[in-house]
């Protein structure tokens, strides 16, 4: 695949579906015409570095595609903090966060019977998430989109079958075009820290209340809460360590496998214990209250069982990866990028 084809494919992924062919054909022709003009001026074919310099001058594929979307919305405070290229994604992430927070708030309102506990349960986590998500996007905007050297046209990838964008590594490769195959990318560690910090915020916000309205935490929740907190903290420690020791790839895979195994144990114990919320005073509870508690426990039981299956599959994959990884390579070899692999 030529540099132009690679670049145009990457732009294509961010374009509106109906216009992809039309825009990319025109863009490819424009770049090729520019290369030809430069070759006439220099009297020789362009070197790879010269082609890279021209592609860099056009901008990151995501930035190029954003111009065609015609959506100029951005986050500004004095200067531009999050540009139009990332703004739609930023908005989507915030909407998902808000939706999750509102669901938790609605549950708090139903079981807590207090509008203030529901508001506090929505506002505080959302403000924390808003701050973390915004700071993360500002950083991404500065690091990748405004810095012409922050990405590499030689390795920038399309979201084609060769790249798995469902993983943070794949997403990092797509955005900056650099792949540290034997080291954990800083981007990956930062994204993981952000996501796990969000998860921890939610978990601590829910906490272990003594009583919420007419219900209180049952054994399926109360008896495993502390263990689950420790597992989340351990999971958070893995990307923090990798941020400073990116070559510790075996540590990362082993850490993930261990986290998954511990999670399976906790979820299994939680399932066996059964009730996640129980009535404070079963004797005086109304039939509606009993039905509601039963409904909540059923929903949680299904969610826990589903998570248990997913975690077991993930644990199997992590253990297989751990076996395959073999002995760690030398520090010097570990920081090579995709070009020399």
């Amino acid at each position: 695949m030529t540099l132009v084809e690679r670049y145009v494919r990457a732009v294509r992924d961010f374009l509106p579906r109906g216009q992809q062919d039309d825009i990319t054909n025109e863009l490819a022709d424009s770049i090729q015409s520019r290369f030809e003009d430069e070759e006439v001026v220099r009297g020789r074919p362009l070197t790879e570095d010269e082609q890279v310099a021209i592609l860099r001058s056009l901008g990151h594929p995501m930035a190029v595609a954003a111009r065609y979307r015609g959506d100029d919305r951005s986050v500004r405070f004095g200067g531009q903090l999050i540009g139009p290229e990332l703004f739609p994604t930023y908005l989507t992430v915030l909407r998902i966060n808000l939706a999750i927070t509102l669901i938790i708030g609605a549950v708090s309102l139903i079981v807590g019977n207090s509008i203030w506990s529901a508001i506090a349960g929505v506002v505080v986590p959302f403000v924390i998430q808003f701050t973390i998500v915004t700071l993360l996007f500002i950083w991404v905007d500065r690091r990748w989109l405004r810095d012409p050297d922050g990405w590499d046209p030689r390795t920038v990838n399309s979201m084609g079958p060769d790249i798995d964008v469902s993983t943070l590594d794949g997403l990092a490769v797509q955005l900056i075009g650099k792949q540290h195959t034997r080291a954990v990318a800083i981007t990956t560690s930062v994204l993981e820290i952000g996501l796990l910090a969000l998860a921890l915020t939610f978990w601590l916000a829910i906490g272990l209340p003594e009583q919420i309205g007419f219900v209180e935490p049952g054994p399926g929740w109360a008896d495993v809460w502390l263990a689950a907190t420790v597992v989340i903290l351990f999971a958070l420690a893995i990307p923090v360590v990798n941020l400073f020791r990116p070559t510790w790839t075996r540590f990362r895979v082993a850490g993930h496998a261990l986290t998954d195994i511990a999670s399976i144990a906790i979820l299994a114990v939680s399932l066996m214990l059964g009730s996640w919320v129980v009535l404070v005073d079963p004797a005086s509870a109304s039939a509606e209250q009993q039905d509601l508690v039963e409904l909540i426990n059923t929903i949680i039981r299904i969610s826990v069982a589903f998570t248990l299956v997913l975690t077991a599959i993930n644990a199997a994959l992590e253990i297989r990866r751990l076996v395959r990884i073999g002995r760690p390579r030398s520090e010097a070899a570990a920081v090579s990028n995709v070009k020399d692999t």
Partner: protein
């Protein structure tokens, strides 16, 4: 940073914002005026740059699509130099709009000169 430097920086920033605002409309006019004769995107950009209207690809191509969507341009794909290229030219509506915009441009120029105390031509 001294107060004088801060004032200069603010003036530069304000000028840059206003310049971009002013230029945005002028770019549309320049593109429409140039497309009285047929061009493909890259050749159009070169022609504009050669005549002093600097415009980058990321501005020109989305602008061409927008103007076509508004019915001011027509486009066709043709094979040239063994590559398919998209050729643009003014549509009938585009010609009419260009005439009116050019008249508006000249009127504005005269008005601004008058307001600015410059000698009328």
């Amino acid at each position: 940073m001294s107060a004088v430097e801060t004032t200069a920086t603010n003036a530069d920033a304000a000028f840059e914002n206003l310049r971009l605002e002013l230029r945005r409309g002028a770019l549309v006019l320049a593109v429409l005026a140039r497309l009285g004769t047929e061009h493909y995107g890259y050749a159009l950009r070169k022609a504009l740059v050669d005549q002093g209207m600097d415009i980058d690809e990321n501005t020109l191509y989305p602008l061409l699509r927008r103007l076509e969507t508004q019915g001011l341009l027509d486009s066709t794909w043709r094979e040239t130099d063994s590559r398919p290229k998209r050729f643009y030219r003014l549509s009938a509506v585009g010609e009419e709009v260009l005439d009116r915009l050019l008249k508006q441009w000249r009127d504005l120029d005269t008005t601004i000169r008058r307001i600015n105390g410059e000698a009328s031509e």
